[in-house]
């Protein structure tokens, strides 16, 4: 029976979890007018990306729907939705909260995982390939050198991002 049932078990605590985190406070003001979605440049090109639905999922308590959706990684943080919202809901900030919660649960988009791994490893989103230094040389600029990996490791340690690192590796 369970295998074919499609109903969602609601988690009434989920909305409080989101609103307790910095940036998540305004979620409760949403009255579902849809302006965030109508103004969203991503939603125009990706029909699965539905900001108003994400808010609805948070308020209703559909934890898996909100955190497990591959589309939460698409927000370009342009803040158009926050600008147009008549109720002061800071959707972009809420999206950041949702992403952090997803990361804490080990639900990370592979692209972000790769980026994060690169930062931990190189201190940058990517290590400088040779062709960049060739271009810089042509422009009379000094080459970009690789960063000190030990120092990066120390900074990462000080920043206490280890927890996220573990969850990245989950």
């Amino acid at each position: 029976m369970q295998a074919i049932e499609k109903t969602i078990k609601l988690d009434p605590k989920f909305k409080y979890e989101v609103s307790e985190k910095p940036g998540g406070e305004s979620v409760r003001h949403c009255f579902q007018c849809g302006k965030c979605e109508a103004t969203c440049p991503i939603a125009r090109f990706k029909e699965q990306y539905r900001p108003a639905q994400v808010i609805r999922a948070i308020m209703l308590g559909c934890r898996e729907f909100a955190l497990g959706s591959p589309t939460i990684w698409l927000c370009a943080t342009c803040y158009s939705c926050s600008e147009r919202c008549p109720q002061g809901v800071r959707f972009t900030d809420i999206m950041r909260v949702i992403r952090n919660m997803a990361v804490a649960e080990g639900k990370v988009n592979p692209f972000y995982k790769k980026t994060a791994e690169a930062i931990i490893q190189f201190g940058r989103t990517f290590d400088s390939p040779d062709f960049i230094n060739e271009m810089r040389c042509d422009l009379g600029l000094p080459p970009v050198t690789s960063l000190d990996r030990q120092e990066i490791a120390k900074i990462i340690g000080e920043l206490k991002v280890n927890r996220s690192k573990e969850s990245l590796n989950k």
Partner: protein, 674 residues
């Protein structure tokens, strides 16, 4: 003091409102121990009939001469109990009320023990005060049977008519050159589709012809002083440069006038002349010269209207005039102002020609509007076959500061959509909404009728409008939240369903009338449930949209209620004055006039008495605010019912320790000597 105080104390449960938090039995037992308390009881609903009977019986049996009720706010029930005092044969000013609901049980719900302690302290303060209360004479003064109605829209006109019918003298003041307000601008009314001007024009004529009504158009109230029953009003009558008595409304002046200006009545969509009447049915049917556009006033030439006016009514020498008036009551019916959507950039109002407001649209389709009832769009005069409405523009929006719902826009949009579809079934009409609020009588049926006519209701407010620069056609981008899909619709015209905001000048009015506004900016009623058309100031009533967004039937109902409020206040021709007023001890008064400079109500005058200048308080005008009493440097003014002794006794009862500290005791002693 009349006799030895014999006090009855009643602790009200207010159902569970108080008793769920405060231990009412403990408070009643405690009160029993206080000096001069003869009876102390708790009761479920003290304000109820059996509750009041119980108090009356106690007064008789125990010879009580003072009553204390610890219950809700005195704003709620002090008048109830003062009446009870009179019925029980006691002076109403020997009653004292303690608020243990709003100021105790409701705010300390989480701390019942502390709330009970606070209730005990409040009761002991009241007992200390009650012992020193003195009976005050209840006086009546003659009240004028005349009324000032501010605002000549549907609410003001209705209130004026109802009062005039009951033989009150009414002065109806309107700041525009003609009465009518926003209802005169509407084409049809929802949900019955009555022609607005057809049902309204007869009322405008009635009010102008009623012998009990004086119409002052092009006028504004400048000053209101005095109190209920005897207000003094100053009205500024602006010059219209046309003699109202001579003008016959023939319109020759306007036909000859060479200057054109946008007509505000038509939301600037049509033109009028510099000498004009805002709309053909305007009352009074008298023309007005608009000084800003008239060639004579701007360039000193022309006067062509004067030449052609057979009635010799044009008078360029007219000056501002101040009209003085004494009235018994005031009805405020200043209405609303339509929200200006140009601040909401996403809708491009004022930039895209084919984006109009719902009120613009009323004028566009009105038979006496700039297009004479033909549905055409502003950019090119073509018929708009594809029309969309956007709801909640300027309402329910934090960015505009208006978080309230404007009440009328849902039904107004549905009405306009039905009007379009009835005439042009082939047109496509969309209503982009957030919630459809069809709460009134016949509203839901009307919403159903719109669906029958194939009006498309889309749940989702659009956030973007794009204009084709060549055709001036529009594209709306919105999300249908039911489908969860983004949709785009090509349109010929977009109508913004704008909300209502408080009118400009409402701040001046609140200052002139000394009445408050609510958080939404509209005028505030005395009680949202039980006194919805009264203001906290006795004798000033509210009618229509000045109190909050309202449709026509609600405005009419409120106007009738306000008229009834005025009638029940003034019909006896007498009015009770406040007995708790300031009195001057003439022996002590040094004539320094500090009190005069502080009195907001102009209630204090200097008079020659006992060979010197002393302050005298007018019993009719004094509102009993107590500012003079607290400021008087010689302590020669005291406020009846709130004397220094009474207040200090209360303070001492609250905190005997505090009163033992040297400074306070000294102050107490000084005050007690005087």
């Amino acid at each position: 003091m009349i006799e030895n105080p014999r006090i009855g104390v009643y602790i009200c449960h207010c159902g569970l409102n108080i008793s769920a938090t405060v231990d009412v039995k403990a408070v009643a037992t405690f009160a029993q121990t206080l000096p001069d308390v003869v009876v102390s009881r708790d009761y479920k609903y003290t304000c109820s009939d059996p509750g009041q009977e119980m108090i009356k019986k106690d007064v008789k049996e125990h010879k009580l001469n003072r009553i204390i009720v610890a219950a809700c706010s005195p704003r709620m029930h002090e008048p109830t109990y003062r009446k009870l005092m009179e019925e029980a044969g006691l002076n109403p000013y020997l009653f004292e009320m303690v608020n243990i609901r709003e100021q105790d049980s409701w705010v300390h719900m989480q701390e019942p023990a502390k709330a009970t302690q606070k209730a005990k302290e409040l009761v002991s303060m009241a007992v200390a005060r009650s012992r020193l209360l003195e009976p005050l004479e209840v006086k009546e003064v003659p009240a004028l049977k005349s009324v000032l109605v501010i605002g000549g829209g549907i609410a003001g006109i209705q209130a004026a008519l109802d009062l005039a019918e009951q033989d009150y003298k009414v002065c109806l003041v309107e700041k525009q050159p003609t009465i009518g307000g926003h209802m005169a601008q509407l084409d049809k009314t929802f949900p019955t589709m009555d022609c607005s001007i057809c049902i309204f024009a007869p009322k405008m004529v009635d009010v102008s012809k009623n012998p009990n009504v004086t119409l002052l158009t092009n006028s504004e109230v400048q000053e209101v002083s005095g109190v209920a029953g005897n207000f003094h009003v100053k009205i500024l009558k602006k010059p219209r440069f046309v003699n109202e008595k001579k003008c016959v409304g023939c319109g020759v002046c306007a036909s000859k006038c060479p200057v054109k200006a946008p007509n505000e009545f038509d939301m600037n969509l049509g033109m009028r002349k510099a000498v004009y009447i805002p709309f053909p049915q305007g009352v009074p049917a008298v023309y007005t010269i608009d000084k800003e556009h008239c060639l004579y006033f701007t360039k000193g030439v022309c006067k062509i209207c004067e030449k052609f006016c057979e009635a010799k009514a044009i008078d360029f020498t007219q000056k501002e005039q101040i009209v003085d008036l004494d009235v018994g009551a005031v009805v405020v019916a200043t209405g609303f102002e339509p929200f200006d959507p140009s601040s909401l950039k996403e809708f491009q109002y004022g930039k895209f020609k084919n984006v109009v407001t719902s009120l613009d649209f009323e004028r566009l389709i009105s038979a006496f509007g700039p297009k004479e009832g033909k549905l055409v769009r502003p950019s090119d005069g073509k018929e708009p076959h594809r029309i969309a409405f956007i709801q909640c523009v300027g309402s329910r929006d934090e960015r505009t500061g208006n978080i309230y719902c404007s009440n009328i826009c849902c039904m107004s949009a549905i009405k306009q959509a039905v009007l379009i579809k009835e005439k042009h079934p082939d047109y496509e009409v969309y209503i982009f909404y957030n919630d459809i609020r069809a709460f009134g009588k016949g509203f839901e049926e009307f919403y159903q009728r719109a669906r029958d006519l194939w009006v498309n209701f889309v749940k989702g407010i659009p956030a973007e409008l794009v204009e084709d620069p060549d055709t001036k056609n529009l594209t709306i981008r919105a999300v249908d939240l039911v489908l969860g899909k983004m949709v785009e619709v090509d349109l010929d015209m977009v109508i913004l369903s704008i909300g209502m905001i408080p009118p400009k000048g409402i701040q001046d009015l609140t200052r002139i009338l000394r009445i408050p506004r609510g958080a939404d900016g509209f005028l505030l009623e005395a009680h949202p449930k039980l006194r919805p058309v009264d203001t906290p100031t006795l004798g000033i009533f509210l009618a229509g949209a000045c109190q909050g967004p309202k449709d026509i039937p609600a405005s009419v109902a409120q106007a009738k209620a306000a008229a009834s409020g005025v009638a029940s206040l003034l019909s006896r021709g007498k009015i009770r004055t406040e007995s708790s007023i300031a009195v001057v001890n003439e022996d002590f008064c040094s004539g320094c006039k500090v009190c005069i400079s502080l009195c907001k109500y102009d209630a204090i005058k200097m008079n020659e008495k006992k060979g010197k200048q002393v302050a005298t308080v007018s019993e009719v005008t004094c509102m009993g605010c107590g500012v003079c009493a607290s400021a008087c440097p010689t302590k020669s003014i005291s406020l009846r019912h709130f004397t220094d002794q009474q207040i200090l006794a209360q303070i001492r009862a609250l905190s005997p320790e505090l009163c033992q500290s040297s400074v306070t005791t000294e102050q107490v002693n000084i005050k007690e000597k005087t």
